[in-house]
Symmetry: C2
Subunit: 337 residues, 2 copies
């Protein structure tokens, strides 16, 4: 299946320096892929020449004169930077020139712009950010990761629908299990929104399995975990923090004695394998769900390996037509409900 | 300083089998400590005889006929189990027989009972659960860890006061830095409650340093991090989950080849050191803050090492008179305000 992706070549901490090599490796890997590099033609052109690559049928440059900085306010971006690489990438999706776009740029700006340009699917209030989390017994899709705060129970329900469709499309699971993230230990578990969302889910035809706690994000015991964006963002960042702390601790211990350095040398292949298994680059590419179009958010610090993975994610979502599946499921739920 | 602690000897997954050895090692470590083991006299008496220990001036048994199970509803416990080891332990604090109590029992029941029996400090709406989190550059006190959901901005402010006083008492820091847990990436960062709490904190004499994100729980860059209990609980459990996942992954890699097993053997002292540094048992003992009395919550699965650490925590809080410090700080803030 021939497909075209627009890449925001200027986004992220490294911009085209990492995105262009990622694009070139994606073109090698996927025969039917066409890429449009969106951004400053002079910069992108020069980098392509440095890589000894010409533009052509499968690789084009689409000029955009502006760049959204990582800490700009989304509302100002939306108003003042109409020719940013981020916005033009989304425009190409809207205009049907590209089937999806991938950006490592400012999350807030990407979300606000995607919502403004592409609009929401009918029945969805707000976009949600969804990512794949690795776990002991398999992967879990977690959403929302920070697009929304104070999500209502209806919104949590919509997240469950979107997560279900994304997971069934991408992981080829026919009826993915969905759980609500909640806290233990309390008599009246959780807050009202979670409890009301549980009632909505229990009465739906989704494969709702109940509440899970934070640790279950990494057990893989359910396919989809739904939470408010504030909670999901904190869970994700806390996880990054604890992984970094453990890593720091291990490095210190292996380094601080001669014996430790020897042990590190002996263990190198094993340590590398451990690192490879849990390499966050392999999970890069969060989906902005609920839009009338496919938008993938790459981590801002993505390198070429990482960005290439986000491109792979975008390809699968195009092939499976995730927005259309979400729409169809919502229609079905409304017809049933 | 002579002090007396009441230990809920029946609480937790292991009950007196782990709590009695913890009590005996605490008595050895602290010359001025007296302990009251609260629970079934027959069971506790038999276990003491097995350890070859007699009751006496420093170690007493206080009979309580009932036991609160780990998954009982707090409200039912409160109504129906008035002679539980959990409740009687708290009664001993209320009656001035013990200076503090430690329980590994049902968190919800402990909180509801402590609140009912001891009452809140003036100016504090609800108790908060606070624990020490290890980090790259030092420890951080994080609260609330699940006692409250949908905390108001005033409650978040109260958590900041309580966390400040606990940290300055326990860590001997004169003016601990306090941050609010928030999410990044968004234009209007966080929800209304967090933003309003930020305004309250900025106008106070607390050492408020602004927002941090989830990863900062493990950097140790601030002394106290304040959040709603739903968020804090998920962050804590997600951290446990990611640590367990990384641990599982490392174990698999070291075990699955002959070379891996060899490397594990060579690295054993280093791996043990890593494990020791991050041993959650060293951080066991969460404080229930805001009460007119000192109550420590041990992890339900605590073993003797872990429970002994919670006893150590209780001793420090008694020595520093944490509830009185919180009261004094609140009075001062109100006087200033």
């Amino acid at each position: 299946m021939k497909l075209t992706l627009a890449l925001d070549a200027m986004g992220g901490d490294h911009g085209p320096v990492e995105i262009i090599p990622a694009a070139l490796s994606a073109l090698e890997k996927h025969d039917d892929l066409r890429l449009i590099l969106v951004g400053r033609e002079d910069i992108i052109g020069r980098l392509l020449r440095e890589h000894g690559v010409d533009v052509g049928e499968r690789l084009k440059i689409h000029h955009a004169s502006e760049v959204v900085e990582m800490h700009e306010l989304p509302s100002l971006t939306l108003r003042n930077k109409k020719d940013s690489s981020l916005r033009v990438s989304i425009n190409l999706v809207k205009d049907g020139v590209a089937d999806a776009c991938v950006s490592a740029g400012n999350t807030g700006a990407l979300m606000a712009t995607a919502r403004f340009v592409l609009k929401m699917l009918p029945g969805i209030d707000r976009p949600a950010i969804c990512a794949t989390m690795p776990g002991i017994h398999g992967n879990t899709h977690l959403l929302d990761l920070g697009a929304n705060v104070d999500s209502t129970s209806e919104q949590l329900f919509q997240f469950a629908v979107m997560g279900t469709e994304l997971t069934s499309a991408v992981n080829n699971v026919s009826n993915p299990s969905v759980a609500l993230l909640n806290i233990g230990a309390e008599e009246i578990k959780g807050n009202d929104r979670v409890k009301q969302a549980a009632a909505l889910l229990a009465n739906s035809h989704l494969n709702y399995v109940g509440f899970v706690e934070g640790n279950d994000i990494y057990t893989g015991k359910v396919d989809v975990i739904v939470c408010d964006g504030f909670v999901g963002n904190v869970a994700l960042k806390a996880s990054e923090g604890v992984a970094e702390f453990l890593n720091h601790n291990a490095r210190m211990e292996f380094r601080q004695s001669f014996y430790g350095r020897l042990a590190a040398l002996v263990s190198m292949p094993i340590l590398k394998a451990i690192r490879r298994n849990i390499d966050p680059r392999r999970y890069n590419g969060a989906s902005l769900l609920g839009l009338r179009g496919i938008v993938l958010k790459s981590h801002g610090s993505a390198d070429k390996v990482s960005f290439a993975h986000a491109i792979d994610e975008a390809i699968v979502e195009v092939e499976k037509n995730v927005p259309q599946r979400i729409s169809a499921r919502l229609e079905k739920l409304f017809a049933e409900g």
